[in-house]
């Protein structure tokens, strides 16, 4: 279990009064305080770390969020913002003396404006919910994390989430226009709007990916885009990771940026094929999913160029999807990849480092060596266009030793990513999982600067504490 700061005893002692205070602010069903009912809120998508909170508050409006925050701030109570709880870095992990503020009841679409190509939604609307609301007219919301069915736009802002198509369309930060936020002391502030590039400091950019450290987001205005005429995916199978990596370089060097360029190694191919039956090549060491878009003729043009490039890399097979169903199956396998690994192993840790794409073969080789050393299997999924690597380390949570090895293995992988010029996390966030590795990437001065920004928004460090910053920073603050 991960080390956490000691709970504030004086807060625990006032538990009943705090719960009573919350009950005055919210409808009856909006406050959860019974021990049994708190358990399901003790963890998120990283279930290896668990801690039931003091209470859970489920506000329904921005005003209620503000009232709750104002109250908790006055009482000196720590606050854990929570969306769908799909964070893979323990970003929504509670603390014993903290109140979880769940945004899932703020689930309304507030406005859709096709002429200005934007939509305003509450923080608890799911990522796919935005696309579903606009797709009838051919529009979509571009960032598409694999968890898009469930994860909420507020959480996406919290983590600056990406997805398979962000090579072409960018991550969350690149697709936002405005936010409504509540500060830790309960003030409601509008940032940006339906226009581009507001003057003043780039609060939108700073808040996105701030992992609930700076404010709670209650409304989000996103850009919606008109979808292309069509899209088609191609599967290319190769004999070695190096060859697939070289092929990626060759495609990009040719001036083609596919909308998606995904890499899977052998274990990942096998796990996903068992789940999606998409016709993945089981004889390959490495596979690329390459997607292009446009009119059928444009797709043909791009695919034929890509095919030529692939053919220069001695492929085992090249397969272009022939129908929408085939493309859907190809993506089902990729988007369900984590769950698919859940079928072959009871538990997994999903790493999320980013590396310079040219270093892929070397990094995969060294991960393979670590896998042997730690005696744990690993499957690698890689957003090849942008260097974001997801090694899925398989372990058995019922065996404490296996989990301990998995944690150390994971830390080694991330240090390796930094060593080759990359970073700890490309899209899942630092959370609680990687906070103590931050000094592998940042100097004390770098971290001190970030900490002072945190101080500026949240002087008492009540918002989502003990995440992002190394634990020692939180302890320093508490002292």
């Amino acid at each position: 279990m991960i080390a956490q700061p000691a709970p504030k005893q004086e807060v625990l002692a006032r538990r009943d009064a705090i719960v009573a205070g919350l009950r005055r602010l919210l409808p009856e069903s909006g406050v959860i305080a019974e021990p049994i009912r708190l358990r399901p809120y003790e963890t998120d998508g990283l279930a290896a770390y668990r801690q039931p909170p003091l209470a859970v508050a489920l506000p329904e409006t921005t005003e209620q969020v503000a009232a709750v925050l104002r109250f908790l701030h006055e009482e000196g109570v720590r606050i854990i913002p929570r969306g769908a709880g799909t964070s893979l870095s323990g970003g929504a992990l509670p603390m014993a003396d903290a109140v979880v503020v769940g945004l899932m009841r703020l689930n309304r679409i507030l406005a859709i404006d096709y002429a200005d190509r934007c939509a305003t939604v509450q923080a608890g609307v799911t990522n796919i919910g935005i696309t579903q609301a606009v797709q009838g007219t051919g529009f979509f919301y571009a960032p598409d994390p694999s968890s898009q069915l469930a994860c909420m736009i507020g959480g996406n802002v919290g983590m600056n989430s990406g997805g398979a198509h962000c090579l072409r369309y960018g991550v969350t930060a690149n697709n936002l226009l405005g936010l409504k936020i509540v500060t830790v002391s309960g003030e409601i502030i509008d940032i940006g709007g339906a226009h581009l590039d507001a003057a003043g400091y780039d609060w939108l950019g700073l808040l996105t990916g701030s992992e609930g450290q700076l404010a709670v987001v209650t409304e989000v205005t996103v850009r919606i885009l008109r979808g292309p005429e069509g899209a088609r995916a191609m599967l290319a199978a190769f004999r070695a990771n190096e060859v697939a990596g070289a092929c990626v370089d060759a495609i990009i060097s040719s001036g083609i940026i596919p909308v998606a360029l995904e890499f899977m190694d052998r274990p990942a191919i096998h796990a996903c094929e068992a789940f999606a039956h998409a016709g993945y090549p089981l004889d390959a060491e490495a596979m690329l999913i390459i997607e292009v878009e446009g009119s059928p003729a444009e797709q043909d043009f791009l695919l034929s160029r890509i095919r030529e490039i692939c053919e220069r890399h001695d492929p085992i097979s090249l397969k272009v999807s022939q129908s929408a169903e085939e493309s859907a199956a190809i993506w089902k396998g990729r988007k369900g990849a984590f769950g698919a690994v859940g079928r072959i192993s009871p538990d997994y840790l999903c790493m999320d480092g980013t590396i310079p794409t040219g270093r892929l073969p070397e990094v995969l080789r060294r991960i393979g060596e670590m896998s042997e050393r730690y005696g744990l299997k690993v499957a690698n999924i890689f957003h090849a266009g942008d260097g974001n690597l997801h090694p899925l380390i398989m372990f058995d949570a019922n065996d404490p030793d296996s989990f301990a090895r998995a944690e150390r293995f994971g830390a080694d992988v991330l240090r390796l990513c930094v060593e080759v010029g990359g970073c700890l996390t490309g899209e899942h966030g630092v959370g609680v999982e990687k906070r103590d590795l931050m000094d592998a990437q940042f100097t004390p001065t770098d971290l001190a600067q970030q900490r002072r920004i945190k101080d500026a928004f949240d002087p008492l460090w009540l918002l989502n504490p003990s995440k992002v910053f190394p634990l020692v920073e939180t302890l320093k603050q508490a002292a």
């Binding site: 404006d113 096709y114 002429a115 200005d116 051919g138 983590m159 600056n160 962000c166 960018g170 930060a173 690149n174 409601i188 502030i189 509008d190 940032i191 709007g193 339906a194 226009h195 590039d197 507001a198 003057a199 003043g200 400091y201 780039d202 609060w203 939108l204 950019g205 008109r226 292309p228 005429e229 060097s253 083609i256 446009g294 444009e298 791009l302 980013t354 310079p356 794409t357 040219g358 942008d386 260097g387 010029g421 970073c423 899209e427 899942h428 630092v430 990687k434 990437q441 940042f442 001065t445 770098d446 971290l447 600067q449 970030q450 002072r452 920004i453 101080d455 500026a456 928004f457 992002v468």
Partner: protein
């Protein structure tokens, strides 16, 4: 003002700022000074220029990244990437024409001002492509954020915060940018003789089409007349650009002409004419030679025609629109009355403004960008203090007292 500090390297910047911090001496930060006339005049004892800290430090075309020291001239970077068939995604403008300066702009300046050109609406702003920064804060400390990889959410995103902070939080010393392959071909569909309301509606229709429009602008007749590639049309014009492989450009411009035919007569500009026209839009050349003040107003596109009409009504503004109507360039007399009219029009359109160029008096007196509501202004002051506790970096540049 005494002679400007001109450190030759990052260490020099650190030393200079550490000394200024100790002495509490405010500095005016610049690259080559091309944007000194933007926003509010800075009250500083000395200048600090990073122009001497120049040079490309990393360029990996397959990995789509380039890094350079802050003082590197932007045209040098553009040439370097062009040599590998790549380009800067946000198409940053060269505003020397409208700002009335000769100095070439530096990478640091472009990023510090977060300047983006027509491709902003399709490809994102300059700040969207800043992957990593090195900078020196107001305490004289070197800080780093981001890195050299395309995706990175490790820690708070200072790359974005520093982009567009106009040197008030830290002095950028090195910047890593994402680049992309430059498109093979460029083509533009024009709609001539169209009024602003219909023009913006046409731009919206084009941007809402599946044909990957990469830029959309509207120029009234007077503005179009100043752009050689458009002058021959002799009328107001709405412009829609497509950039891609040659067959795609041919196909999509044709589709767009069909789609836009319901708005009026369409023409097609070929690759060369397109590039000329869009360079003019990018650099705000339709307003070159205007006396007085220049504003950039950012509103929701559908509100732009009314905003333009309001400033024309108030002071006979000359103007044109980029970003599908989302960005209005306005020229007019450098008076408080004109400024107030711009502010009112921007507010009515639910957007914001920036006084880009004006005599010092107006720049010092007016809110060159919108005042923030009190709760946000408090955060602004606190964040400013978190970087620059003694207020030595470009004091007063964005807001009085910040």
């Amino acid at each position: 003002m005494s002679e400007a500090l001109a450190p030759a390297d990052e260490e020099g910047v650190v030393t200079a700022l550490a000394e200024a911090y100790d002495a509490g001496v405010p500095l005016e930060i610049s690259g080559r000074g091309s944007k000194r006339g933007m926003l509010r005049p800075v009250q500083a004892a000395r200048g600090l220029s990073v122009a001497g800290h120049a040079g490309i430090t990393l360029y990996s075309p397959q990995e789509l990244v380039i890094a350079a020291k802050a003082g590197t001239r932007l045209d040098e970077i553009e040439a370097a990437v062009a040599a590998h068939g790549q380009h800067l995604i946000a198409e940053p403008p060269d505003l020397s024409g409208v700002l009335g300066v000769r100095a070439p702009q530096t990478l640091g300046g472009v990023v510090a001002a977060n300047l983006s050109g027509p491709r902003r609406i399709a490809g994102g702003a300059t700040r969207d492509h800043v992957l990593g920064v090195r900078a020196v804060n107001g305490r004289g400390e070197l800080i780093r954020s981001g890195g050299r990889v395309l995706k990175n959410v490790t820690g708070l995103d200072l790359c974005k915060l520093l982009s567009g902070s106009h040197g008030t939080l830290a002095v950028l010393t090195e910047i890593t940018l994402k680049v992309l392959p430059a498109p093979e071909r460029c083509g533009t569909v024009t709609l001539t003789g169209i009024d602003p309301t219909k023009g913006v509606a046409a731009l919206s229709a084009a941007l809402g089409s599946p044909y990957g429009v990469s830029a959309a602008a509207y120029l009234p007749a007077g503005a179009a007349a100043r752009v050689p590639a458009l002058a021959w049309l002799g009328a107001a014009v709405a412009l829609v650009r497509v950039e891609d492989f040659a067959p795609s450009v041919a196909y999509r411009t044709e589709k767009l002409r069909q789609e836009l035919a319901r708005f009026g007569r369409t023409e097609l500009l070929d690759d060369g004419a397109s590039r000329n026209a869009w360079r003019a839009v990018r650099d705000a050349l339709p307003l070159r030679g205007e006396e007085g003040a220049i504003w950039r107003v950012s509103v929701r596109p559908s509100a732009a025609p009314a905003a333009a009409a309001a400033v024309v009504g108030a002071f006979g503004a000359r103007w044109f629109m980029d970003w599908g109507g989302g960005l209005i360039w306005i020229a007019g007399p450098p008076s408080e009355a004109a400024h107030d009219a711009v502010v009112a029009a921007a507010r009515a359109g639910g957007g914001t403004w920036m006084l880009l160029r004006a005599p010092d008096g107006l720049r010092a007196a007016a809110s060159v960008i919108p005042q923030e509501p009190p709760a946000l202004a408090r955060i602004t002051s606190a964040v400013k203090a978190a970087f620059d506790p003694k207020g030595i970096l470009n004091p007063g540049r964005m807001y009085p007292g910040v």
